[in-house]
């Protein structure tokens, strides 16, 4: 039998862009600029992963275990040197001007190094996506400027998005369920603004963000008709951070409770848009669920890469693990899962570019203008005026309205399919990788058990994998289903409970 030859081995991390993304490489023949953006992002992310994430991920986690209030300041500073907090901000607002897709590619690469650190960057992107989907370009420009200026100074202005409430998680992820949700938070209209009361829970970056994109109804009895996004600054009287959660994994990214007690915010804090439930939220989730798909792929890949390294260096029964057929088959299965997962989120990403949120950014010629104009002009008052004008905002709203139902459905369906598939495959690879490791994998210092803990979150947030299946049913199986039977009565047989 031929034994393992390290010289003849080409590791996955050395794969080129086109090996990893053949579909995108093919697409790039028609849109060379897009391809260049993607490739550049992969390169940058790979470098950041190698130089910062890999060397620090385990230490950051130990630090949080030791002190739950620990903040990964070093990682935040390092990421801002790379410009990761502003990559997808339009150039006209001072950012990198790259597409959401490019950011997603970075998320896989960074997430394969550490899902927690990658999440810290990614949820910030979720907030930008949410703000952009409201079409309130004035607010978008304000947030983006704060962000890019902070980033340049090495102190990025971090964002969080707060949707989940103690009594409503799944229920606030879907417009039909929202009708029966028991909400505790509300922004009650008062003279000159709103008075916010209530609580949001599990908010990623909640304890470290400077601005929170808080999703609130102005009348919690009519959430579907009255829910909007509000920008609330840390330090606003009446707003405080509650408990910072003790989580199983993803420890580098804190999740916190946000508490509002008679917190007054001015009228201008409300992003100017139609109520969000419906199109706007669907567009955001269609885009970001693909991003969670990239993290599922990252989990699958991180597990695979570590198992591969282990298999090449450790022996079992006198032979290198990699010389055992069962290990080879497992590694092949893990690689197959990575490929499958990646294909799934790339579909989600492309359907978002074709039919979803990213399409809107490019539809009115914005992205072309930004690409062609020099930065000096983009920063000028005239361009700012055009970008934040009422006409631009209305144009954006019209673009949302003009999307066909099937377009939004397609983007949502691919987002949900990717979210479920990739995160399940991510967990599956963790199980497979732990088998390859054996007892060694149980140790924190080997890095694989961390992925197992980190990856589990991906099946829960951004809509549980159960909710995302319901979404998929509504978008791609039965598009006529307007609301599911919300209070299904269990069958008679099921009612005869059996206690454990």
């Amino acid at each position: 039998m031929k034994h393992f030859d390290p010289e003849a081995f080409t590791a996955q991390s050395e794969q080129s862009f086109s090996q990893m993304y053949p579909a995108l490489a093919a697409l790039g023949r028609h849109r060379p600029q897009l391809l260049k953006d993607y490739e550049r992002m992969l390169r940058e992310a790979r470098r950041f992963r190698r130089e910062y994430i890999e060397p620090h991920a385990l230490d950051v986690e130990r630090a949080v275990m030791h002190d739950p209030e620990y903040v990964a300041e070093g990682a935040i500073r390092a990421a801002s040197e790379y410009g990761f907090f502003s990559t997808m901000i339009p150039r006209a607002f001072g950012g990198g001007g790259l597409s959401f897709g490019a950011m997603i590619i970075a998320m896989e690469e960074l997430g394969a190094g550490c899902l927690g650190l990658s999440n810290l960057l990614g949820v910030h992107g979720l907030a930008i996506a949410t703000v952009s989907a409201t079409g309130d370009l004035g607010a978008m420009e304000k947030v983006c400027r704060l962000l890019t200026q902070g980033e340049r100074a090495g102190r990025p202005h971090l964002l969080s998005t707060a949707i989940t409430e103690p009594t409503a998680g799944t229920d606030v992820e879907d417009a039909d369920l929202l009708r029966v949700a028991r909400l505790v938070s509300e922004a009650t209209p008062v003279r000159g603004g709103y008075r916010v009361n209530g609580r949001k829970v599990f908010i990623s970056n909640g304890s470290i963000a400077h601005t929170h994109v808080v999703i609130l109804p102005t009348d919690k009895k009519k959430p579907v008709e009255t829910t909007f996004a509000f920008l609330i600054e840390t330090g606003t009287p009446g707003f405080r951070v509650g408990r910072v959660e003790r989580k199983m994994g993803q420890k580098a990214c804190p999740a916190a409770e946000l508490i509002f007690e008679d917190c007054f915010i001015p009228e201008s804090a409300r992003l100017n848009s139609k109520p969000l439930p419906g199109r706007a939220i669907e567009l955001v989730l269609g885009a970001t669920r693909g991003g969670v798909g990239a993290w599922g792929t990252a989990a699958a890949r991180g597990a695979f890469e570590r198992a591969l390294t282990h298999a090449k260096t450790q022996r079992l029964d006198g032979r290198f693990l990699i010389d055992h057929q069962w290990v080879q088959i497992k590694l092949a299965d893990m690689q197959r899962n990575v490929m499958l997962a990646r294909a799934s989120y790339v579909d989600a990403m492309l359907s978002n570019e074709l039919f979803g949120l990213s399409l809107l950014a490019s539809r009115n010629g914005m992205s072309e203008i930004q690409r062609l104009l020099p930065q000096r002009l983009l920063d000028s008052a005239a361009v700012k005026k055009v970008m934040t004008s009422r006409r631009a905002r209305e144009g954006f709203q019209t673009a949302i309205d003009e999307l066909a139902d099937w377009e939004v459905d397609t983007a949502s369906a691919h987002g949900s399919a990717a979210k479920v598939s990739c995160t399940d495959l991510g967990m599956q690879n963790c199980h497979l990788a732990l088998e390859v490791f054996g007892a060694a994998g149980l140790r924190h210092d080997r890095g694989i058990e961390k992925i197992y803990r980190d990856a589990k979150l991906l099946q829960i947030y951004e809509g549980t994998n159960q909710l995302n299946r319901i979404e998929l049913y509504k978008r791609a199986v039965n598009r006529g289903a307007t609301g599911l039977d919300l209070t299904p009565k269990p069958s008679v047989a099921a009612e005869q409970e059996v206690q454990p």
């Binding site: 006198g318 054996g438 007892a439 009565k489």
Partner: protein, 347 residues
Amino acid sequence: MSELGMLRESVRRFAREVVAPTREALNHFPERPLPAGIVPGLGELGLFDAEIELPLLGVALEELSKVAAAPAALVLTHAFARALVREAGGGRSAALGGLNGHGLFACPIYSELDLSDDAPSLRRVGSEIELDGTASLVVGAPLARVLVLPVRDAGGWGLVGLESSEPGVSVGEALLTLGMRGCPSADVSFQRARFPADRLLATSPDVARRVARRFRGAAVAISAGVLSSSVAAATEYAQERYQGGGAILEHQEVRAILGRMLEDLALCHEASELLSREGVPEWRALAAFLRAKERAAHATCDGVQLLGGNGYMEDYGQERAMRDAKQAQFFFGRTDVARQALAGAVP
């Protein structure tokens, strides 16, 4: 009350009154010190006694694991390591094992004990043996008096039994592990350290295989205990959590997941029962053992899922169950390696 019933009751009480209040500290080991009362309490219950019968041990471990699996893993490891020493026989074995009830035994219980690839190497030098290298993840080592370790003996296999206080034995810092936090483990290393030859207790891996076979039932009891607490917590939560217009238990998908968890729990209990019987064919015993451990590990992931975001938080215990059950899957080594041994058995 039968002996078994009495033990079950006293372990339950101990788990509820002593272990439960320290769960958080246990879960944060080694970042936080080990709660003081646990190990002596386990001793008082007689769980470290040499005489304890395996079916009784299984019952105790399941009850403990319903509250916290880490102390159960410590008890199992001790009993198993001690049984290895006894099985090896010989004078030294009697000396190590004879001091009843005093001093813990440690061994790398998550490894394939009959293989010794990453074990320290052994060289015979005159009337002595020389050990070199590191035994990884030796469970119980930071607390143990006796370390029972497989070694590589010129390509072959050996089992050594050493006291941790002997010169040349170096026990590393307590390791952070996926699960069973609060059951301290550490690396044990040797730098060409010499010991009297009687420290080598056995040279045939059959010793490890025989003992592991006997202890399968006790190991599965831990998976069963962990899963049973996960099912109970998930059921309670599903009855109380309102979402989608009713208690989530009313949603058919939630029922389906919970139903599958109960199927897996039933499987664990069936395995426990099968493994406590005499004369069960080896292939059936091994199959039941592997399946139960593996299913418990998967089912506890669903236990987290059913609690949504709360499941991911330490407060609800589901995340601990998920980590502990995964770690318990590795008792006596990988499922896939053992499965290789299963194939070829003629039913």
